[in-house]
């Protein structure tokens, strides 16, 4: 059997070496798309709730639907930044460099979203506004420490 030409061997070696890197890129792209989808869901619930809470839209059950949806979606946030998933969506390296601080921020978001859902169930407007602010503060605090702003 004739030995394979050297350039063919080099070509195969290069292809084998390239596979993992390419696979990582593909994974990161998928994570970015999913991450942005989760964040869009959160923003949608928040924006819809703010219209009812602060801009006068009559509440015929809107608030509870969105608060429950937010509390449910909030449990995703701790799962969408696996190590190696890249920072193209503005995720700062601090997420992976300070895992305890990031985990605490995620827990506060989960807790505050749950409290918001409970406050809306209570029907007390003052509690609702306070709980909305707490949830917003958790979003803002996390973005301040862990997200690169567009500006």
């Amino acid at each position: 059997m004739r030995a394979a030409p050297r350039f063919v061997i080099l070509l195969i070696a290069a292809a084998v070496l390239a596979i993992p890197a390419h696979a990582d890129d593909a994974d990161a792209e998928i994570w970015h798309k999913y991450r942005e989808g989760v964040m869009d869901v959160l923003k949608g619930h928040i924006s819809a709730m703010s219209v009812v809470l602060f801009e006068g839209l009559e509440d015929t059950g809107h608030l509870q639907s969105h608060a429950d949806g937010l509390a449910e979606a909030a449990t995703e946030v701790g799962k969408i930044f696996p190590a190696g998933s890249g920072d193209d969506t503005g995720a700062l390296p601090a997420i992976w460099e300070q895992p305890d601080k990031f985990a605490a921020a995620v827990t506060e978001f989960e807790d505050s979203s749950r409290s918001l859902s409970e406050a809306i169930a209570s029907g007390d407007r003052r509690s609702m506004a306070a709980a909305f602010k707490r949830t917003g503060d958790s979003c803002k605090g996390c973005h301040e420490s862990f997200r690169a702003e567009e500006y």
Binding site: M39, L42, K43, G44, H45, I46, S47, A48, S50, F54, E55, F132, K133, G136, D137, C139, K140, G141, C142, H143, E144, S145, R147, A148, E149, E150, Y151
Partner: protein, 287 residues
């Protein structure tokens, strides 16, 4: 006896006026954004004892201790010295300030407001904390450079208001242009670091690692022209953007320490003023 009673009433009235002045000063200190810059970033930092690093194209400035400590803070400052620092950009002993201290904006403030802030600061516990030297290139590392900058780029003057506009607009103008000094971050600067007057609030273009700041004029595409007044108020109160996102970055502490603590009336005034600005496209480069 009657004289003694009168003296007692006068003393009580003076004490009440001082209390009111201190309370007003506490509010104005928040509206002036003093806490954000004059408090170090560490979680356990002592408020107003200095230390926040302000990075600029000209070097890194460290905000000083403004507690009433006599050795390291402002405990020895007279009323005139305090007012002069804000109105003229010159501290006790003729020390010219670099415009990292935003006196080009504060120069428009009223004497009453400044003295209320001083009264509040002097009601606080003195904190001994040495000031950190600025990190500047050799040619700026002298107060003569600050004096030269002032002679070229600074004009002192109080806010006089616009009688053609209503009270809300005028209050907003005072808050945005002077006390809140929004233009220090949102108005582009020329090559000598002075804000460009015809570009008020048009945003700062990115430069190197610095991503710049957004245009907050009512331009429909580049600015906040599509925001309703209520949306601007909610942003100032909570950091909530119209699409449901929450702001982060360097604006987050401004919401926490400043605009989120204002009265609804003051936030409405800021929104009115911003919506009345000329709609400018986003600035692209330093002139």
């Amino acid at each position: 006896m009657r004289l003694l009673a009168l003296a007692g009433v006068l003393l009580a009235a003076t004490a009440a006026a001082q209390d009111t002045q201190v309370q007003r000063g506490a509010y104005l200190l928040q509206a002036g954004g003093c806490i954000t810059c004059h408090t170090a970033k560490a979680d356990d930092a002592i408020p107003l004892a200095g230390g926040r690093a302000l990075e600029s194209p000209f070097g890194t400035f460290y905000a000083p201790n403004i507690t009433p400590d006599r050795d390291t803070g402002i405990g020895n400052w007279t009323d005139e010295e305090f007012v002069n620092a804000f109105w003229e950009g010159v501290g006790p002993g003729g020390k010219y300030y670099f415009p990292a201290f935003p006196y080009p904006s504060y120069t428009g403030m009223t004497r009453d407001d400044l003295l209320a802030i001083k009264a509040y600061l002097f009601s606080l516990e003195p904190v001994p904390a040495e000031n950190r030297e600025h990190e500047l290139p050799w040619y700026l590392d002298t107060r003569l450079a600050a004096a030269a900058w002032q002679s070229l780029k600074f004009s002192a003057g109080r806010f006089t208001g616009d009688p053609e506009r209503n009270d809300e607009w005028n209050r907003g103008a005072y808050l945005v242009r002077h006390l809140g000094h929004c233009g220090e971050c949102h108005t582009p600067r020329d090559r000598l670091g002075a804000t460009i007057s015809g570009q008020e609030m048009a945003g700062v273009p990115p430069r190197g690692d610095n991503k710049g700041t957004p245009n907050i004029t009512p331009h429909p595409d580049d600015g906040i022209g599509k925001w309703r007044k209520r949306e601007i108020e909610l942003f100032l109160e909570l950091g909530l953007l119209p699409d449901g996102d929450f702001v982060g970055g360097s604006m987050a502490p401004v919401i926490d320490d400043n605009t989120g603590l204002l009265t609804p009336g003051d936030r409405a005034a800021i929104a009115t003023y911003l919506q009345g600005l000329p709609a400018l496209p986003r600035a692209t480069a330093a002139e």
